[in-house]
Structures are given as structure tokens and as C-alpha cells.
Symmetry: C2
Subunit: 229 residues, 2 copies
DNA sequence: TTGCTTTTCAAACATTTGTATGAAACTATC
DNA sequence: GATAGTTTCATACAAATGTTTGAAAAGCAA
């Protein structure tokens, strides 16, 4: 078996170009030029352009999903089989937020690619995203265990809003930065995660005390804290 | 001056096709065929394909923005110059949610077009969305008056999260429906607006009592209510 | 009608695009 | 080192697409 350095070079070049210029503006010829390989190599190694994009996206998605499930599992073990709702939401929104935001990730091609994939929406990526429902069901199940007796629809709305805040922050971070004239610190990823988790849990428990205080103890700037009850 | 029925026919056909099949799958030839006009008519009347898309989107955007500002103005008059935070958030998320969701809007081309524009993201639409910041500043100003002394960043985060929940609900309504197996009622627009407003206000006031109870008094299914403090 | 502007039309343009082909180069196994 | 399988390469293909053109048609004012 030959070294698949051509395959790898194509993947790296494609991810970089898509991240920088978007899916609409990058052609296969751009990619092979960047990767210094022949035009036909893409179809030889991946079958088609769409399959190349799909492979890029599933790779990163699997990464995020694995981190999510790891965090969920850890939280469940910590809680003796039943994770606290805070930790569940944190496991849900933490990985994608950490993966896409933050100053350290500034130059990360993977991060910029995932942001791009969240802004633009091309058919191969949409197809993969549609399969995400099965993955989310695991979180719905954990939430059901954490908040037994709670109306099912409420759980789904809470899950939905948590993803809304996380994804919208990733997708619209430039606009939020511009709107707030820099007052919102998009580099403080931990603080953002706390924010999203806190609001999600508030939405789910509608104001009741959470099962326990939010885990992360301190953040530099004034972020949301629970001061009710 | 001739009747611009050709212009109008193109706009209608384009909006319908884009709404149904997305921006990526619809060509100028599809549009002119649907409108029963000549291919060159698009460039004659609009200059380019992108300008046609832009005109479609600005028309609908202006509609939403006007409704928002009307609601905001009404709320400010009700409050003697200072609108309650609930009403501000409601003015922000109500119009787009009402415009895109609900069973009555099922067949509305405008609604489906705006949903599509929120899912796919093409350059001409992105350009227009970037100008939306000025519009949002008016809401930020109203929020500042409603919650004086509050940290500026907190206000922007609340605004950001409100938009996140509203837009994400519009954009991912099919997925939420599938994930919840129909348990989340996407046709109950008023209930959804209440939900988003309630959570947004909770995020902004982090658990404190709101300036007044949420306006809408009753909804059929069990939705979020404030029971804290 | 005459003359001028606006609008429509068929046709062609000029690229751009992803994909396919068939030969050449390379690699590894016997 | 011959052979079979794999990979690379230059090139061609074929189709789609937004845009342009120049003439014909339609409107309209005098």
C-alpha cells in the first residue's frame, strides 16, 4: 500500500481553502493547485467533490461528537449513573464552542472550517447534519434521567435552545463582536460556555435552583451567576 | 412608463423557486421559464442574478424590521418612553417568528423564502445581513434604557441569545420536530415567542423578577412560567 | 404617421466546472 | 527483473451558467 500523502495533501489543502474562502468560491482546481497534485487525484481518491467535502466534515464532526459523549460519560460516572443537568448541557455545548472559538484556535484550520460549515450550508454537509439527530437523542435521554417527570417537550426545547445559543455564537461571532463594539469577549471560551449552560439550565428548570452550582468557579469578567432563591 | 409586470413575474417566480429548491439549485433559466419571460429580462430589469436575490431579500427584511420597530415604538409609548424588557425582546423575536412559522404560513412563499435564506447563505444575502447591525443597535439602546446600570456586555449577550433562539428555531424547525417526534409544537407560534422571550429575559435578569409578568396569559400546553422568587 | 424610448426576444458568448480517459510512472511481490 | 496492481498525469469532455448583443417589437408623445 502506497503512502497516501496525496490524499492527505488534498484534505489539508481543501480544508484550508474552504475555511478561508468558503465552499462557493473554491474549485477543485484551486485545491489541487494548493496541494500540488493532479486534478484527477481528487476523483481518484475521493470519488467526487462532494465526497471530499463530506469526508472533511465527518472527520471534524466525529471529533466533536466523541468529545461530547466522553464528557457526558464522565459526568454520568461522577454522578453515579445520573449526570447533573448542568454537566449534560456543558457536555453538549462545550466541545463545539471550545473547538471553534478562542484565541488559541485563531489559526486553527479545523476551527475555521467548522465555522465556515456552520455559516454556509452545502448539500453534502446538510446530509451529514441530518444524521445528527441520533446523536442528540443520547443527550435527550440523559436529560430525561436528570430531570425525571419533566414534560418531554420542555426537555427538547431546552436542548434546542442550548444548541441555538452555541451554534449562533459560533456562526455570528463576528457580528456580535461588531455589534457590541468589542464589549463581548469572544475569546473567553470558558465564560461563554458558562453563559450558555447557565441560561440553558434556567430555561429547563425555569428559575428553580439547579441540582448544584455551575462548576467553573471564577472567570475574569462579570459573567452570569445564579443569585436567585 | 410601461407596466412592470415582467419585473413582478420574475420576482414572484424567483421567490417561489428559491423557497422550494434553494439558491444552489435554481438557475436563471429556471426562473424565466417559471415566469414565462425571456432569459435576458433578468439582467435587463435587475442587472444581475445577485441583485435579483438581493432585492427579494431586502423586501422581506424591510418588512420584518418595520414590524419590529413598530412593536418597539408601541411598547415604548405604552411605557411612557421606556419599554419593558419583555416587550423589547418580544418586538425583536416576534416578527421573524410570526413571519416564518405557524400553520397559516405553511403555504406562504415569503415565509418559505425567508426560511431558506436563513438556512442557505449566499453572498448577496450575507451582504445585506451584515447591515442589520445598525437595526439591532436600536434594540440595544432600548434595552439599555429598560435595564439601566446593567453591564453593556450582558445586554448584548442577551440580545444575541434571543436572536439565537429565534433564528435557530426558524432554521432548524424540521430537525426539532423530528428530534422531539412531534412533541414540540412548532405551530404554536405565540407559545414559542413566549418561550424565547421568557428565556431571554431570564438570561438578562439572571433570575431576578422581571419588570412585569410576561404579557401573554395562557397557552394550551405547559410552557415556561416564572415561578422563582 | 413620425420619431424616440423602453422593453422583449432569440441567439450566441465566454467561461467555469466537475468528471472521465488512457497512457505513463511508480511500487511491491514473486 | 518481470508482472500485476496502484497511483499520477496531461488532456479532453460535456454540460451548465450568467451575461451580452443587436435587432425586432411595443409604447408613447408630438
Amino acid at each position: 500500500m502506497a503512502s497516501d500523502q496525496t490524499r492527505t495533501a488534498i484534505l489539508a489543502a481543501a480544508e484550508r481553502l474552504y475555511a478561508d474562502r468558503g465552499f462557493g468560491d473554491v474549485t477543485l482546481r484551486d485545491i489541487v493547485a494548493e496541494a500540488n497534485v493532479n486534478l484527477a487525484a481528487v476523483n481518484y481518491h475521493f470519488g467526487s467533490k462532494d465526497e471530499l467535502i463530506a469526508e472533511l466534515f465527518v472527520t471534524r464532526s466525529i471529533q466533536t461528537n466523541r468529545e461530547r459523549l466522553n464528557e457526558l460519560k464522565a459526568a454520568e460516572e461522577r454522578g453515579g449513573g445520573r449526570a447533573a443537568i448542568d454537566d449534560i448541557m456543558r457536555a453538549l455545548v462545550g466541545p463545539p464552542l471550545r473547538g471553534c472559538l478562542g484565541p488559541n484556535r485563531e489559526g486553527s484550520t479545523a476551527a475555521r472550517f467548522m465555522i465556515r460549515a456552520s455559516i454556509e450550508s452545502v448539500p453534502p454537509i446538510r446530509r451529514i447534519k441530518n444524521r445528527e439527530v441520533d446523536h442528540l437523542r443520547k443527550f435527550a435521554a440523559a436529560m430525561r434521567r436528570a430531570l425525571p417527570g419533566r414534560d418531554e417537550a420542555e426537555l427538547y426545547w431546552g436542548l434546542h435552545f442550548a444548541l441555538a445559543m452555541a451554534h449562533h455564537t459560533i456562526r455570528e461571532k463576528e457580528r456580535l463582536l461588531r455589534l457590541s463594539e468589542g464589549k463581548c469577549d469572544l475569546d473567553d471560551v470558558a465564560g461563554i460556555i458558562d453563559r450558555v449552560v447557565t441560561v440553558s439550565v434556567m430555561a429547563l428548570t425555569h428559575g428553580e435552583a439547579p441540582s448544584k452550582p455551575v462548576v467553573r468557579p471564577m472567570v475574569a469578567h462579570g459573567r452570569l451567576t445564579r443569585q436567585d432563591l
